[in-house]
């Protein structure tokens, strides 16, 4: 029997992946968590019917959300990751010996447990002894902190569902407060392509711009995400993502990557005209 997993990218567009078998299906108090195995994309994690990651292309997302801030900040020691229950982001972070503290705030323990069981490719990140996972609401955790972290990575799901609060102005403001004076926040920034995603992307940008001195957007190509064109946000109190890039220093670390490199770092901040326009439209207001 052929079994196809389909995700609606818009009302009229869908991506389908032929499933070899389903590995788990679990309804947590927050969301529906499913993991499938497929021929072309390997294992993939779906939450509430949306693909979060596939074994085949997760490296793109996780390298881009991690190495970009790490190559700009001169001496990061304390990193906070919000969301990221699959472990991919902490796997990349654990490659930096300079880090002393890697805290993960995940609202749903079931995501971590199921990924540990079925997605060792990303969940291996949790094995690093510097990684501490706290199971609670990211909004609640962060609003009590002041100048606690050098880098905050907001690795959230889409802005509808449990992550809604992680796209709000109050959340970005609380992140600002939780960062040190030279802190950097990087966030999953949705896609500019389909209109509904673009609106969410614009709203996030508008709110980040109003909270941080510097707020820039960069892109990557992630085949399993709607339209394949995905954005990340880089916000900082002090550093410019390209002018302050410490390319030689980062290259001397000898971290091998499949997607990220310091040339691509510079290029990722060069955006198509239509994206620049979408961003400019909300910056002026």
């Amino acid at each position: 029997m052929p079994l196809w997993y389909s995700e609606l990218h818009t009302k009229n567009v869908k991506l389908s992946i032929k499933v070899d078998r389903q590995l788990c299906s679990y309804q947590s108090p927050f969301q529906r968590i499913e993991i499938f195995d497929s021929v072309d994309y390997g294992r993939f994690l779906s939450i509430d019917g949306y693909i979060m990651l596939t074994e085949r292309d997760e490296f793109i997302y996780h390298e881009m959300i991690t190495h970009v801030p790490m190559a700009v900040h001169p001496k990061p020691k304390r990193v906070l990751v919000i969301g990221a229950g699959d472990g991919g982001t902490v796997r990349e972070l654990s490659r930096y010996s300079c880090l002393e503290q890697i805290d993960v705030i995940e609202i749903d323990k079931a995501v971590v447990d199921l990924c540990k069981e079925h997605l060792p490719q990303t969940a291996c990140g949790f094995n690093d002894p510097r990684v501490k996972v706290y199971y609670q609401d990211g909004m609640k955790y962060i609003r009590k902190l002041e100048a606690e972290y050098d880098i905050i990575i907001v690795d959230s799901t889409d802005p509808f569902g449990p992550s809604e609060g992680l796209f709000t102005k109050e959340f970005y403001g609380n992140c600002y407060k939780a960062l040190a004076d030279d802190g950097i926040m990087v966030n999953q920034h949705e896609s500019p392509f389909y209109p509904d995603d673009a609106i969410a992307m614009q709203r996030a940008h508008q709110r980040i711009v109003s909270s941080f001195e510097t707020a820039r957007v960069y892109q990557a190509h992630i085949p399993s995400y709607p339209s394949g064109h995905w954005l990340f946000g880089f916000a900082s109190k002090k550093y410019h993502p390209v002018n302050d890039l410490r390319a030689d220093e980062w290259n001397s670390l000898g971290i091998t990557t499949k997607y990220y490199n310091t040339n691509l770092h510079r290029g990722a901040f060069c955006l198509p005209n239509y994206v620049e326009e979408l961003l400019k439209n909300v910056e002026q207001k």
Partner: protein, 479 residues
């Protein structure tokens, strides 16, 4: 009675299946005649927007399903008779006053009543005897009525027909309604309760006592506020079943003859839900409100107040579901925080006044949104806190009633500048909305204090309403 039943809901479901051909009103004919409206509200909704007819009963003269639904409601609320109201709780409040007072009769009431109460006095010609609600100076809010003040008012006005009680006030403060009811009854006066903000009292034992349980005669209960029914749907409760016929006559004077079945069914369904699940639902709301209060107080400078205000008299009890927060410690007015939450954070709260704001929690809230509210309040403190806040303490301004509201309202009048009105008798309302409690009511003298308060409220961005001049720079006065 079996509270699992919902007679209006069941009749509407049956009606939908019977596929009756409509040659009656409403003219949209189950939505077919208004496509845009149907697309917007949904077929399901338009299909039951129907008129009174044999299988669906008639609100003006209920004999079948509406009668049964009202009986179930009376049972659920511990009343002798319940009336479904579709013109808002304002109508319920007015009807209970019309039922006990006519032209020239006196009613004892606290000054912090909703405008609908004074509207009723304009319409029926009754005369208010105001009780000074005690004021908490630190918070700048009106409290409940003190029993001693009631005793005094009864002594001074032994001919008064009734006492009206807010149970609770907008901020969640309750007077000693049981004791006041005993006092009133001992002097042959009726007790009317404005329970616009107290529906939930009927369904959870840890909340303050409800009017019916306290023995009050009539209560106006706003199911659409904490109870979850549709906006504008409400109930009027009578303790004594014998009052039914008279009350129905009164209600029919002003109630529509085309009662909306959307509203009626929402009352029926909400009553069912509240009586079956209310205790558990409101346990959840109380827990959530207490959590939010603790977290907001932990931010600092905000004061989310609660049961610690209880003093056995003018704050006899407190409704813990009300998330009332004082903002003066931040150097910001409540209305300023209200505006920041909406304009900057997309969070709409119930109201803000000079010193406080109220976030309304009910059966539909969740922790995700509570976290947003708390997070936004933390941000507002970080970004907008003022060093020095100079706020005029909102003290109680004793109204000087020079004419009955009706006489003033219908007097020859002229429009004058606010400052030129001092010493004259006002013929219209001035109030902040919400909460909709009058600063000036028809028949009251305009004083310097009142003019100062209005100017200050305007400056802080309060939405002032009620008078003809939309900008509230002129008021109408007698003469």
């Amino acid at each position: 009675m079996d509270q699992n039943n919902a007679p209006i809901l069941e009749a509407l479901k049956k009606f939908k299946h019977s596929r009756v051909v409509p040659f009656d009103v409403p003219g949209h004919k189950r939505g077919l005649g208004n496509k845009e409206l149907t697309d917007f509200l949904g077929k399901q909704c338009l299909a039951v927007d129907v008129n009174s007819m044999k299988p669906l009963d008639n609100l003006c003269h209920p004999i079948s399903v509406i009668k049964e639904a009202e009986q179930l409601a009376a049972d659920a609320f511990g009343a002798g008779q319940a009336f479904f109201i579709v013109n808002g709780t304002s109508a319920a409040v007015q009807n209970m006053i019309f039922a006990v007072a006519k032209r020239g009769d006196k009613i004892i009431l606290p000054r912090n009543v909703h405008r609908s109460v004074i509207n009723a006095l304009i319409l029926c010609g009754a005369v208010p005897v105001y009780i000074n609600p005690q004021t908490n100076a630190r918070l700048g809010i009106s409290l409940g009525m003190s029993v001693i003040d009631i005793e005094h008012a009864i002594k001074e006005n032994p001919d008064a027909k009734a006492i009206l009680i807010n149970n609770p006030t907008y901020y969640g403060i309750c007077s000693n309604i049981a004791k006041i009811t005993k006092l009133a009854h001992a002097h042959g006066m009726k007790v009317l309760a404005d329970e616009a903000h107290g529906t939930h009292f009927y369904f959870n034992d840890s909340l303050p006592i409800s009017a019916m349980a306290a023995g009050a005669d009539i209560a106006a209960v706003s199911l659409h506020k904490s109870g979850g029914s549709l906006t504008q749907s409400s109930m009027l409760l009578c303790k004594d079943k014998a009052l039914e016929a008279h009350m129905r006559q009164i209600i029919n004077l002003t109630q529509t003859t085309s009662a909306s079945y959307l509203l009626l069914s929402s009352l029926d369904i909400s009553r069912k839900n509240l009586s079956l699940n209310g205790a558990e639902l409101f346990d959840g709301v109380i827990t959530m409100a207490n959590y939010a209060r603790d977290e907001i107080n932990a931010i600092g400078d905000y004061y989310a107040f609660s049961r610690e205000l209880i003093d056995g008299d003018s704050v006899f009890n407190f409704d813990e579901t009300k998330l009332s927060v004082n903002t003066l410690g931040l150097g910001l007015a409540g209305i300023e925080v209200y505006n920041l939450l909406r304009d900057e954070y997309d969070i709409q709260i119930e109201f803000g006044d000079i010193g406080n704001f109220l976030a309304y929690l009910s059966v539909g809230d969740n922790y995700k949104n509570i976290e947003r509210l708390i997070g936004a309040l933390a941000e507002i403190k970080r970004l907008y806190k003022h060093k020095c806040g100079e706020h005029i303490p909102s003290e109680y301004i004793t109204p000087i009633v020079r004419m009955s509201p009706q006489d003033a309202f219908y007097s020859e009048s002229s429009s004058v500048e606010l400052s030129a009105a001092i010493g004259k008798i006002c013929t219209e309302f001035v109030m902040c909305y919400p909460p909709g409690i009058p600063i000036l009511a028809p028949g009251e003298e305009v004083t310097r204090d009142v003019v100062d308060y209005i100017s200050y409220a305007k400056e802080k961005g309060c939405s002032l309403t009620g008078c003809e001049d939309m900008s509230v720079s002129r008021v109408r006065v007698v003469g």
